[in-house]
């Protein structure tokens, strides 16, 4: 199959109007993701940011085709290499997973099989997608472990997940994800379960590996520090929809959506005077409005105006960024200090 130049220049991943609803007999559908659209270009690092329940993990699982087969309705398109991953036959999708698109999960302890040696868990990806067997697969696994900075990889191959530290486990998971040099890597809060000191190491490692292999990265996180240090483009999600998309610099310098502003303001600052109050976003993500009735963030929004609760606000593009807000922040009221 030859790839035309125009296709090669287009986005690697093109998510169009993706929606995911969890259905259950006798109760109304729960829309976890609603009309999400974004693209990932080759080599680009894209951040999906939001609180728990904002739909960012569900978005990634939908892209991977890992949502449960029953009780879920998925709509829209997920184009990868101009194939729609949502309509691809299961076996074709299995070929793509792990080879072209790989994923690193949140909790490295529970994401590794406790009764299978690390070496087998790494080598099985090579065996599946690169037709390696026995000794070559083992050596491949050893190289991968060395590459993600696991000392004494030969010995570690025979060890089990419980014998490794949390950071080592996450490194092993990254080794598995990168085994076949995927063109797209999705990392779902890869550092949430780790110590702060280890977090920085893992992010550095991901950054380095992505740069070396030229892979695109979708980083799912609620940690704006990670976004600031890593991402080219950021999509802020709230209650299943993208509320603001912008380049990293623009977003941090000038957040327009009150939710983005709230997220930035809630990060404690080291240069703030001692005893200065923190700035949490009031309320919780469960205080939402249905998007059909208005802006889901309205119940918690300091900038709320009358029309906000009068119908769904549209996603509008202004100068290279998009925003879903009727009363955005102005320059003077950005980030309360």
């Amino acid at each position: 199959m030859s790839v035309s130049i125009s296709e090669a220049r287009g986005p690697l991943l093109d998510v169009r109007d993706l929606s995911v609803a969890f259905t259950r007999k006798g109760s109304p559908d729960v829309r976890a993701v609603d009309g999400v659209t974004f693209t990932v270009s080759p080599g680009e690092t894209v951040g999906l940011v939001g609180e728990s329940g904002s739909g960012k993990s569900v978005t990634s699982l939908a892209v991977m085709g890992l949502l449960p087969p029953r009780g879920v309705r998925v709509g829209g398109q997920v184009l990868f290499d101009s194939d729609d991953l949502l309509t691809l036959p299961r076996d074709r999708m299995r070929d793509i997973r792990g080879r072209d698109i790989a994923m690193v999960f949140q909790d490295p302890m529970s994401s590794l099989n406790p009764v299978v040696p690390i070496g087998v868990q790494v080598a099985e990806v090579l065996e599946r997608h690169q037709d390696l067997k026995g000794e070559p697969a083992r050596r491949g696994a050893e190289d991968l472990l060395a590459r993600v900075g696991i000392p004494d990889p030969r010995r570690r191959l025979k060890e089990y997940p419980h014998q490794l530290s949390g950071g080592m486990r996450q490194r092993a998971l990254i080794a598995m994800a990168l085994a076949c040099k995927p063109r797209l890597l999705i990392a779902d809060e890869p550092t949430t379960a780790l110590d702060v000191t280890i977090q920085a190491q893992i992010i550095e490692l991901l950054k380095e590996l992505v740069q070396d292999t030229g892979a695109s990265l979708v980083m799912i996180t609620h940690d704006l520090g990670i976004v600031a240090g890593l991402c080219d483009t950021v999509h802020v999600m709230y209650s299943g929809r993208v509320v603001e998309s912008a380049g990293r610099r623009e977003l941090f310098a000038e957040p327009h959506h009150p939710y983005t502003g709230g997220l930035l303001a809630s990060v404690p600052r080291l240069d703030a005077p001692r005893g200065a109050p923190l700035h949490p976003i009031p309320g919780s993500p469960t205080d939402v409005l249905q998007w059909s009735d208005g802006c889901a963030f309205a119940p918690r929004c300091p900038n709320r105006i009358e029309p906000c609760t009068g119908g769904p606000p549209p996603l509008e593009s202004i100068g290279g960024r998009s925003l879903r807000c009727l009363n955005p922040l102005t320059e003077s009221e950005e980030v309360p200090a």
Binding site: M93, G98, F105, V115, V120, E124, M176
Partner: protein, 334 residues
């Protein structure tokens, strides 16, 4: 691992010692005695005293106990008051029969239980799932002896597919070097005898294996349902592995851990279940023999048999622990 096995085997000594004391006292606390049982209700005091002297039952219990223990460590458990033959000889005759039956019952229970439990879980909510859940409930609820009678009536008496009783056809001319009839036939090259013994085993094994089967189905099903939602199964899916790799390496290996424990416990219980099954099918094994020994207050037989069964129970559980360590590296012992 070897150290662990040895330590566990050494643990057998205090266990068997404690059990033997308990057994000894408990048996002698039972109303009636072997002399009474042998001679009947109208035995004279004189004849009872003669029998008691013959078996040393007139001595104080600690003297009897000492004699029993010192002989038992040389694997001499005395003579049966009922059959008048050495207890050890009776063991060599009856244990292989029951072991063969128990193994057949376990093979039946595991061979059907694990696949059925697995597919019930994978087809959660389907007719197969519902059938296996309700079927296993029935399996646990129906008493063994009732099931045994039903099986015998339908498949032996009515349909004539299987023999009604015994371990082999009396006309069968076979040698028995080990006492495990199926194995004996293979060892002596007499495959006809093996087949005959196997056919005799089917119904008793199904009856005896029904409860373990039901329990194994339920545990496997519940365990698989748990494991398929684990994060590491999702990781395996994310790697694009083939479904059979995911099933074998990631789902079953984890899901079978609780099943192994249950199999071990059930294997121990098979000996008590065997009493009923063997009685119904006139299967000449430990169960039937102990049943008779209890009704005749045959102290020597009861002491010897119960101690050996207890030792086997400990060994079976040791095997379970060892296999547990083989499957789950987290419990591998230092």
């Amino acid at each position: 691992m070897l150290k662990f096995v040895i330590r566990r085997l050494l643990l057998l000594v205090p266990i068997l010692f404690g059990l033997s004391v308990l057994l000894f006292v408990w048996l002698r606390a039972l109303p009636g005695g072997p002399a009474q049982a042998l001679l009947g209700e109208r035995a004279t005091a004189d004849s009872v005293a003669r029998i008691e002297e013959l078996y040393g039952l007139n001595e104080p219990w600690y003297v009897q106990y000492w004699k029993f223990v010192s002989a038992a460590v040389q694997l001499d458990f005395g003579n049966s008051a009922h059959t008048n033959r050495p207890v050890t000889e009776e063991m060599l005759r009856t244990f292989p029969a029951t072991i063969e039956l128990a193994v057949a019952a376990l093979v039946f229970a595991i061979g059907i239980g694990i696949p059925l439990g697995y597919f019930a879980a994978r087809k959660y909510g389907s007719w197969l799932d519902n059938l296996s859940v309700s079927g296993s409930l029935l399996g646990v609820a129906v008493p063994v002896f009732f099931l045994a009678y039903i099986l015998k009536y339908v498949f032996s008496v009515r349909l004539g597919w299987f023999p009604t009783h015994g371990r082999d056809d009396p006309r069968m001319d076979a040698e028995h070097p080990t006492g495990l009839y199926v194995l004996d036939g293979i060892l002596t090259g007499n495959l006809e005898a093996s087949w005959d013994a196997l056919v005799h085993l089917v119904l008793p094994a199904v009856a005896l294996g029904s409860i373990p089967l039901a329990i194994i189905v339920r545990i496997t099903r519940a365990s698989v349902l748990d494991v398929v939602h684990e994060d590491y199964v999702r990781t395996a899916e994310a790697k694009g592995l083939w479904e059979r790799t995911i099933t074998r390496r990631h789902v079953l290996r984890n899901a079978l851990l609780p099943v192994v424990t249950v199999i071990g416990l059930q294997a121990g219980l098979l000996f008590s279940g065997a009493i009923l099954t063997e009685t119904v099918f006139a299967f000449d094994g430990v169960g039937q023999f102990i049943y008779e020994a209890i009704s005749t207050r045959d102290y020597a037989v009861l002491q010897g048999f119960i101690l050996v069964i207890a030792a086997m129970y400990v060994v079976v559980n040791l095997l379970v622990d060892v296999s547990y360590g083989l499957i789950d590296p987290r419990v591998r012992v230092r």
